[in-house]
Each structure stands twice: as C-alpha cells, then as structure tokens.
Symmetry: C2
Subunit: 151 residues, 2 copies
DNA sequence: CCCTAATCAGTTGTGCACGACTTAATAGCG
DNA sequence: CGCTATTAAGTCGTGCACAACTGATTAGGG
C-alpha cells in the first residue's frame, strides 16, 4: 500500500484489510438472506445444499455427498437423520457393500424441487451482481478454495 | 431459460452454479487453513477476529464489537467468556452506563499481537492471489454483503 | 418526576462444523 | 485362506451462529 511494492497485498492486522473477514462476513450475510426463503421449504441452508446434490444425483453415498459438499460424515450423519425424520429422504445400507449407505429422495423430497426453483433467482436478485461480476467472484472463490485446500 | 440472455446469470439448481456454495466452501476452506496457525496462538478463528478488533481498539463494548464483526451478543458473550478464562481479556461493567460492558485486553492479550503478526502473511501466501485479485475479490464480497444486508 | 419504551448483555435451544474416536465391513497381501 | 490395513458411517465433545427470550438499566415523553 504505502512503500514497499511487494508481489502481495499488504498484510496488516487490521480487520478490514483481511480477505478472510470479507469472506466470513459475506458467507454469513448470504446465508442469513437465504433463511426466510428456506424456512418456507422447511430447510436449513446446509440441508438445502444436500437437497441440491440429491436433485442432481439421487441415490448417492454419504461419502460422495461429503466429497461434493466438502463436509465430514460427522456433520452429514446427523443432518441426514433430520432430513430423514422430515420424510425428505431415506437411508439404506448398500447390499453390495454394507459399509456404504445410499441416500434416496422420497417422493416428497423429489417434489420439493419445484418449490425450490424460485430460490436461486430470488437470491441472484438479492445479491445484485452483473453476470460478469457473478462469474468473476465465483472463479476467484474457486481459485482461493483450490489454493488453500492444496498442500 | 437456457437461451435467453437475461440481465442476470443463469439461475439453475445445480450446486456448482451457486455462488452461495462457492462462498460457503471458500469460507470454510480458508478457516480450515487458518486452524493450525491459530492453534499455536490458542485461538479459534472467531476468537482471532475478536482479537483483531481489540488490537485496533482496546476497551470496546460488546455492542460495538458486534457491530464490527456482525455478530449477536448471543454469539459473543460465551466467546468472550472463554477468552476471559484464557486470561486474554477482562470484562467490566461501565460505571457511566451499567448496561454496557467494556472489553479490555490483559497484558497477555496485548502481547499476543506480536505472535499474530505472522498469520496474515502466511495466509496471504496460502491464498496465492495477486494484489489485484485480492483487491477485486474483497470489493466484490463487500458489494455482496452490502446488497444482501440491505432491505 | 414518573413510567413506558428502548437498549444492552446474557441465557436457552437448535443446528451446524470438525477433530478424535468407535464399530463394522471389505480389500488385498503373504 | 487368514490377517492386517483401509474404508465407511456414525458418536461424542467443543465451539460457533442465531432466534427467541430474560433481566437490568437508562432515556425521554407527558
């Protein structure tokens, strides 16, 4: 910023200089904005993400769900139990490998997809980015995730 | 939906199209990367953010801390209690307004700042963004937060 | 001056997140 | 074939987040 023009941005201890805080604050703000929309579907935000995966690919293992969402089984197991209690999905051991559990949508879970269709447009509108900004920030976030997850 | 070039990005139900998921995944990945660094300081990530604020402005109220970090007192109160138990700060009712509680660093808490100085450069390096990318993503994240927090 | 409304910090209950661990089942090497 | 290492899902403990609420205190209008 001031003197040394290093290859990196200044790295102070000021809160508002921290990219990590901008990320953390934005993530929580966006989740908060989703909440009323998802309340109408009876879902929390992480539950909504699980349903997104299932609407794309039904009958997925807990393991593959964890890979898609980057979540541990210790997070997913209780969450899936709640979605099962809500009658949105079923869990059954795979006969060909009894270690694995297949997650399948119920009719009710599959039907919820239609009502969920209104959510992404509403949120896109709330975020108020141009398509170019949306694409740019998505790409940069993936770059960060990739860089930070490696080594 | 597929063809029409509307003013917004496509709004499907595919997980990987969702900006919200990119945000959520990046935020958790970054926090995870911080964890070993902060473990050495004996801090969690939200505790680290609180300390950042206190290193900037000592003797701050719980309310103003909440404004800075966009966190509720129901989140901050237990967190501050843990930091007080760790001897990093003290809480005392303000004589001039007994509703308010002033948070003050202990010597130990103030001293931790030096060791924390290594954290932002290490994380900046891990994220691996150019200064331009860093600035761009910070600006976009603030725009999202601002848009989504309004109305 | 009183008294009602607003403000502040904190408690409680629910649901993530994640590390450390457990249990069960399978893979694959000798 | 037998045995050990690996894998899958789940439990448990800790610490956020946040809504709904409580209790104490102060502000400000009538």
């Amino acid at each position: 910023m001031s003197t040394s023009a290093g290859s990196r941005a200044e790295q102070t201890l000021l809160l508002d200089d921290q990219l990590c805080f901008a990320l953390y604050a934005a993530s929580r703000a966006v989740t908060a904005r989703y909440r009323p929309l998802l309340d109408e579907l009876g879902l929390t935000y992480p539950q909504y993400l699980v349903m997104l995966v299932l609407w794309e690919q039904d009958s997925i293992s807990v393991r593959d769900l964890g890979t898609a969402l980057q979540l541990e089984s210790s997070t997913l197991s209780p969450l899936l139990k709640r979605l099962e209690a809500a009658e949105l999905l079923r869990r059954e051991r795979r006969p060909e490998d009894e270690r694995s559990v297949a997650i399948r949508l119920t009719e009710e879970g599959a039907a919820l997809r239609e009502r969920a269709g209104a959510v992404p447009p509403a949120m896109g509108n709330a975020m108020g980015l141009t398509p170019e900004q949306d694409a740019a920030v998505k790409q940069l976030l993936r770059l960060i995730t990739s860089n930070v997850t490696a080594g």
